[in-house]
């Protein structure tokens, strides 16, 4: 009989926990916002959230880095309040969201995809071209001491080691940017592997997320993977310089990425802002660069209260203005002032229940 008593006591405790929990959830007046999507800006977004909370303690924001594809899927199914994506919305995706007039998409910062490699014993930095990257990722160059790589790197001690390309297995904006860049370098790549958030690579090994690819590169001598600049920096993984259209070998950094983004400001109009900034002209421009975007419904039809609407628009506006100050310290490239203005203009068109929402926060 005692066991039945224990049983009842346990059940009672469980009920009390849940009732208390529910009460706690209802009791406070905090606004909670849910976001999901791109993994690439995740560290920056987490930092933004914690900085924003210092100014607005009543707003709690949770961003889950499930991948760009997942973010777009989640906002289409209205399972989150805002989404992050490394690839701009496609026409089909915009339609699924209710057409161009129903969506606001703004760049939040710019980033770079870098060819990170694991070559024990190599002391110099590797120089690469788009063409060589295509050949590596399609298998026509299979050894590190291949003359085509050696030709770009006179004097470098390249080992007689097999190359293992590492790539993303999940749908991701990183793959989108990288394949689009490679497609500008080779028509054959465009027609065999193609471009997209998830493609079928002929050779190599997959990893889930930036972190998965970074892990493959870190753990495997001879691996080369495309990952975001900040992941390479954070993990101290060596990455190469890439030849830009101006013929210069440029290494990715917040400065060289911003240089690529500068020219794009003019093309940003409307509420769904898109600019592809790979392969941009300019001596300083890093060629595999891209914006990352934040996506919300223009009518905020997935929010419930005006307080939520104000908090969301307030956070987004803060991010594209004050938030830019901390980008460089985290290896992301800030938006240039022209891009910021365009983003803010787009955010100002957001309404909730038909009324405009203040972008100034609360």
């Amino acid at each position: 009989m005692t066991t039945m008593l224990t049983f009842r006591r346990a059940a009672k405790a469980a009920v009390v926990t849940i009732v208390l929990g529910a009460a706690a959830a209802l009791g406070n007046g905090d606004v909670r916002l849910q976001g999901a999507g791109a993994t690439f800006p995740n560290p920056l977004y987490q930092k933004w959230v914690s900085e924003y909370q210092k100014v607005h303690p009543e707003v709690k924001i949770d961003y889950q880095s499930i991948g760009s594809g997942g973010g777009i899927k989640a906002i289409t199914e209205k399972t989150v309040h805002f989404a992050g994506s490394d690839a701009p919305l496609s026409k089909k995706e915009i339609q699924a969201l209710g057409g161009e007039s129903a969506v606001v998409q703004v760049p939040s910062c710019a980033g770079a995809v870098v060819p990170a490699y694991n070559l024990p014993g190599l002391t110099t930095e590797l120089n690469l071209t788009g063409e060589v990257l295509v050949q590596i990722f399609t298998g026509s160059i299979s050894k590190w001491n291949d003359p085509k790589i050696a030709g770009l790197n006179p004097g470098a001690k390249l080992p007689d080691l097999a190359i293992t390309p590492a790539w993303r297995t999940d749908g991701s904006g990183t793959t989108f940017v990288f394949t689009n860049y490679l497609a500008t370098q080779s028509d054959q790549f465009k027609s065999t592997v193609g471009t997209g958030k998830q493609v079928k690579w002929p050779v190599g090994q997959g990893g889930k997320g930036n972190e998965g690819v970074a892990a493959v590169v870190q753990q495997m001598p001879g691996a080369i993977g495309y990952i975001e600049l900040n992941y390479a920096q954070q993990n101290k993984i060596a990455f190469g310089a890439v030849k830009n259209p101006a013929g210069k070998f440029v290494k990715a950094s917040p400065q060289t990425v911003s240089a690529a983004g500068e020219a794009a400001a003019k093309s940003l109009t409307g509420t769904v802002l898109v600019a592809n900034i790979w392969n941009q002209p300019g001596d300083q421009a890093y060629p595999i660069a891209s914006f990352t975007y934040l996506i919300v419904y223009r009518g905020l039809k997935n929010l419930k209260t005006p307080a939520e609407a104000e908090a969301l628009v307030g956070f987004l506006s803060w991010a594209v203005q004050d938030g830019q100050a901390i980008t460089t310290s985290m290896d992301y490239a800030p938006l240039s002032s022209g891009v910021r203005d365009a983003a803010l203009q787009a955010l100002k068109t957001i309404t909730f229940e038909g009324k405009p929402v203040s972008t100034g926060g609360r």
Binding site: K92, I163, Q219, M220
Partner: protein, 374 residues
Amino acid sequence: MKRPSAATHMSEVDVQPGSQQAPRRPRSRGLGDLALAVTAHGSALLVFLMAAFLVGVLAFAAAPSFKRFGPAFLVGTEWRPNELERPKLGPDGKMVIKDGESVMEIIPPAFGALPVIFGTAVSSALALAFAVPVSLATALVLVRVAPRIRLGAMLSFMVEFLAAIPSIAYGIWGLFVLAPFLQRHVEPLLQQLLGDLGAFRWMFYQRLTIGGEVVERPLALTGRDMLCGGLVLAIMIVPIITSVSRDVLRAVPRAQLEGSLALGATWWQSCVAMLHYGRSGLFGASMLGLARAAGETMAVTMVIGNNTTIAASPFAPAQTMSSLLANEFAEASSELHRSALLEVALILLVMSLAFNILARWLVVGASARPSDAS
């Protein structure tokens, strides 16, 4: 009161408590009985509902993919979620040129499940090949040796605890310990020993189609491959095969064992007799392990390399049905992609159900035998 049908009665080996009904009681006292009966029947009904929802919902959601690909889905070798844009080739095999530019055509995404079915089949088979001999040996020790040296309880506990360690813990161990160990020590050694022998060449080289040409390349040994997946799975299914086999072997009548010993059999010969006697139950135990291996997700996703292609070599990265789901389900934004993944989930479900049903049938048959005799 309904009489139990002959069929149910036959299949119920154990005593049926409650089947001997007391005489009917006055209605007023039956209220509590009724409430309990309703609750119990309701809970049982819930079990049926769960199964129905599982199959129904998955089948419904997989319908678009099934309509689009039909049975060809099962044998399709390409899993490519993106569209391809490429120059259109005319009937003469040359690019179609219009207004001085080549005409482009869009190749839609392709979804074929064969690579992941292959991945699941091979990784599970590898796991069984490693796990079954070890498990049977361990079960024999548990039944015949351990009790005599008072280690039985201790060993049983250890084996069961091995089963209780969460999948993700094995994944982390596999990723940070086993995979690097295979990559640095085991695989290079195997390559040195076997790589130049013609019979094993396929293990260390891969055929690639590059620019329309087929070339043979040495495979990069990564440690995160089919072999590693199979090994981690083996470790994870040893406990279940061992504990079920132990129960099956315990059910072998003492007379069987003593008889063979009396006839002068060695320790091992009497073990063989036991194994032979319990063979269908032991086969069932292995099937249970197989079902577990086929459905295992987290650990496999972390170590198998996640490449959705068919490669013969155990040192090539692969993808199983469950790891494909873990990798892509949250990301699948197109309807067809999502539906194709759900069809993969359905195949996985049907496969593991088939293994399970077969296993239950064999194990129940084996362990029911002694009570049949009584």
